[in-house]
């Protein structure tokens, strides 16, 4: 039977990538601490799910590879195989291959790749032990394999204070606390349905306190062939077993009573076997934290956002009517709508927020590989990976960060021998921090490496003909470091394949600025370098100043407006053919917006307002005819056909239904 799986392909790809990210992360943990059972369990779980998913989708090569990988993992888990560098490297290689396969599938391939090289490696790692132990493990299917590895495991429930209180309460009421392990037939096609029936049967007269795996995993059928439940019941075990066994494909493996007095909160002393394993899990909250989530296509969210945008727009229209009609009842209703649409807007915004973890998670692996290649010793620390950013920003920020991290590893942090000479610890430290402040998110990449030498930068810039010798002499330390961001600049003495491929920091800067962000660098020679990126929380809704020139209305993002002021024609002076005004003792160059935008109609009023805007570090004044006011606007793209029109960042639909353009200060003049 061949089913059409194409509709599940997107979900498959998305989930595979998620699992892969998780696998990489946990394997790094395991590499650091070979005894980290929680990490190993997590790896095992993710690999197993990946295997199941890929064979369901018909990607046999992928399934086969993960299957062999799982074989090795089982041996790790059982302790029959030592976790060492060779095997970890092999498994990392498998992850890379899986990534390749997934990428190939994503670009329309069939996922068929010859993995025999890796499988041979995996088998030889595994056979090393088969010979020693004299026992081979025949793996014929999911069920057997799982049974072998987990049959005698104690269920690893983790109890919170709250759970314990409930259990103690139950105990005091003479209710039984039971631990059930139910087994689903390995060939069952509807594992989730069977699990559901078990739940139903138990809930007739008892209560389920906890399940392992979590309720959601059970619902989605994401579990092996057994699951554990913690039940409070007044029924005797025998009748409960009888009731459960009447469900087809379900077998009760064990049903034991638990002594509540012996239980402790997870993380405490491991007094009870049942808790001891949970103890290992403290590090990975994900295993126990059950959160209900829904996977939504980003297009639908965009659609929702558009609709909310339209609602806000029509609310604006209603407000105008309310202002002219002066009806109390109408105005009261408008106020309500205002409040609700405001809430709706912030909820929709929140829905689009994703933790930056998604991007950060792929870095530890990259740092590990790079530092190994370059023979550098680096501690990589990540802070604030829960920081949330709009999905659109998240998608764009990965590449610039990779660039900065690579730079820090390649050019920043010195070789161990060199570090010793400078009396630094041999291990370099690379920090990646994210934090949320006001309407912005700050991301910092900091290393304790060699730092940037302003003199060398100047010299390089002169050599490359980017600036003149005299110009270079006049530059301050900060200005010299800023030269790094000039196109065509790369200081690496040696071109390595890590960085210095002609793609410089200017690309990073462009990307960040395209996201309405800023990037700064601070460096102390011999101490280290710190790149600081400031990003807006979202790109979809911004505060803007609405202005008009002649009969046209434009929006200027408030983030680039410093101030506004009113002037007369007499205030304008000419310096070297450039119109300027004096603003508090400073010379401010002026640009007439009507001229910049080639507005065809004639001026209708003599009023002149100056909007002082900032581009990079320079201020200029834009001459407009009137200031309409500050407004929250929902940015819409102008689409493919109009992409790249200089000076225009996007469009909005105004309260009157007309389209207004948003000025892009960076490309306006």
């Amino acid at each position: 039977m061949k089913m059409d799986m194409s509709q599940y392909l997107d979900i498959f790809l998305e989930e595979s990538k998620e699992h892969l990210g998780n696998l990489n992360q946990k394997l790094l943990d395991l590499e650091k601490n070979a005894g980290d059972m929680a990490a190993l369990n997590e790896i095992f779980r993710a690999a197993h799910t990946l295997k199941g998913m890929s064979s369901t989708m018909g990607f046999e090569d992928l399934a086969d590879l993960t299957h062999h990988m799982e074989d090795v993992l089982v041996d790790f888990k059982e302790g029959t195989l030592q976790v060492d560098t060779i095997s970890i490297d092999a498994i990392f290689k498998c992850f890379d291959r899986i990534q390749t396969i997934i990428e190939q599938i994503e670009t329309g391939g069939n996922g068929e790749i010859d993995n025999s090289d890796l499988i041979n490696i995996l088998q030889s790692i595994k056979s090393g032990i088969i010979d020693k132990q004299g026992k081979g493990m025949v793996v014929s299917g999911d069920g057997n394999e799982m049974e072998e590895s987990t049959e005698n495991d104690e269920p690893d429930f983790q109890f919170s204070d709250y759970d314990l209180t409930i259990l103690q309460e139950a105990n005091s009421r003479n209710l039984k606390v039971l631990n059930l392990r139910a087994e689903v037939a390995p060939d069952s096609l509807m594992k989730s349905v069977r699990a559901f029936m078990v739940f139903k049967a138990i809930e007739e007269d008892s209560e389920i306190i906890k399940s392992n795996p979590g309720a959601q995993e059970l619902e989605e059928g994401k579990f092996d062939n057994y699951f554990d439940l913690l039940i409070i019941s007044k029924t005797d075990s025998q009748s409960l077993i009888k009731r459960l066994e009447s469900i087809s494909e379900i077998k009760v493996q064990s049903l034991t009573e638990i002594e509540v007095e012996n239980l402790t909160v997870a993380g405490g002393e491991d007094e009870v076997a049942a808790v001891s394993e949970a103890d290992n899990m403290v590090g990975s909250k994900k295993v126990s934290k059950i959160k209900q989530t829904v996977r939504v296509d980003i297009d639908r969210l965009d659609n929702l956002m558009n609709l909310v945008g339209e609602l806000v727009m029509h609310k604006g229209r209603l407000e105008q009517i309310g202002a002219t009609e002066k009806l109390t009842e109408l105005n009261e209703t408008i106020e309500q709508i205002d409040r609700i649409s405001g809430d709706l807007q912030s909820v929709v915004m929140k829905v689009r927020m994703v933790p930056i973890e998604q991007v950060f998670n792929r870095f530890p692996r990259m740092v590990r590989d790079l530092s190994k290649d370059l023979n550098k010793e680096i501690d990589f620390l990540i802070e604030g990976k829960d920081t949330e950013l709009d999905r659109t920003v998240i998608d764009e920020i990965g590449d610039p960060l990779i660039h900065l991290l690579r730079n820090a590893i390649d050019h920043g942090i010195e070789l161990p021998a060199e570090r010793v000479k400078f009396r630094k610890p041999t291990r370099g430290t690379l920090m990646l921090r994210a934090r949320h402040e006001g309407n912005n998110v700050y991301i910092e990449v900091e290393d304790d490496g060699a730092g940037i030498d302003p003199e060398r930068i100047k010299q390089k810039a002169v050599d490359k003909g980017l600036i003149g010798t005299r110009e270079a002499e006049g530059l301050s330390r900060e200005e010299a470091i800023e030269l790094l961001f000039i196109p065509g600049f790369s200081t690496a003495e040696q071109v390595t394949d890590i960085s210095g491929r002609g793609v410089g920091l200017d690309v990073v800067k462009n990307k960040i600025e395209a996201l309405n962000g800023e990037i700064n660098v601070d460096s102390k020679l011999g101490k280290g370098t710190k790149f600081k990126i400031k990003l807006p929380l979202t790109l979809a809704i911004i505060q803007a100043l609405m202005i008009s020139v002649r009969d046209e209305i434009y929006a200027i993002p408030l983030s680039s407006v410093d101030e506004t002021t009113i002037i007369t024609e007499a205030d304008i002076k000419m310096i070297q053919n450039q119109e300027v005004i004096m603003l508090r003792g400073n010379v401010l160059p002026l640009y007439r917006l009507a001229v910049l935008l080639e507005v065809p109609t004639e001026a209708t009023s003599d009023d002149m307002y100056v909007v002082v805007v900032r581009r990079a570090d320079k201020q200029i004044g834009l001459v407009v005819e009137s200031l309409i006011g500050q407004q929250e606007i929902v940015i819409k793209s102008l689409g493919k056909l109009l992409a790249g029109v200089p000076g225009i960042a996007g469009a909005i639909v105004a309260g009157d239904g007309n389209v207004r353009l948003i000025l892009d200060i960076a490309t306006l003049f």
């Binding site: 609709l307 080639e598 689409g639 056909l641 029109v645 000076g647 469009a651 639909v653 389209v659």
Partner: protein, 154 residues
């Protein structure tokens, strides 16, 4: 179904005997586009000018919350505008991911055209480059230029 129409302008291949087109006027000439691509026909809405954009970009409109760019084919094909102001319309197309509107002087009607009645273009026309045309459609003595939208908006 008529993917071939869009991608192959040398030899249009129509799988069905008849297909529907929207016929409209640009200047004195009559044009047609496949109805499958037409999303909306509208009176002239307020068009917002886009400064510094290409000459043939008329501006953008708000069509039910969507921002749609409007292309002026008169300037693109060097045609004179004609007809009454109140007859002018905006035809909004969707070709693949691209949504775009064109300004036309008058929308004539929706016609059913037989596939045999479309002649591939080999002749050179003054105003329009051959690559923008899928063929010349004949209908009861009228000649209509069948436009290849994808090529025009490339």
């Amino acid at each position: 179904m008529e993917k071939a129409l869009v991608t192959d302008n040398e030899q249009p291949v129509f799988e069905n005997e008849e297909f529907q087109v929207v016929a409209f006027k640009l200047g004195q000439e009559e044009y047609a586009v496949e109805i499958l691509h037409v999303q909306d026909i509208n009176r002239l809405l307020n068009i917002t000018r886009i400064p510094r954009s290409d000459r043939h970009i008329e501006g953008v409109i708000n069509l039910r919350g969507n921002i749609i760019p409007i292309v002026n084919l008169h300037t693109k094909f060097n045609l004179q505008a004609s007809g009454n102001e109140e007859d002018k319309r905006i035809i909004v197309f969707q070709v693949d991911e691209l949504k775009v509107g064109i300004l036309v002087d008058e929308v004539s009607e929706v016609l059913k055209i037989e596939r045999d009645a479309v002649e591939p273009t080999s002749k050179v026309y003054d105003s329009i480059e051959t690559e923008h045309i899928k063929g010349i459609a004949k209908f009861e003595g009228r000649l209509m230029i069948l436009l290849d939208l994808l090529k025009i908006f490339e």
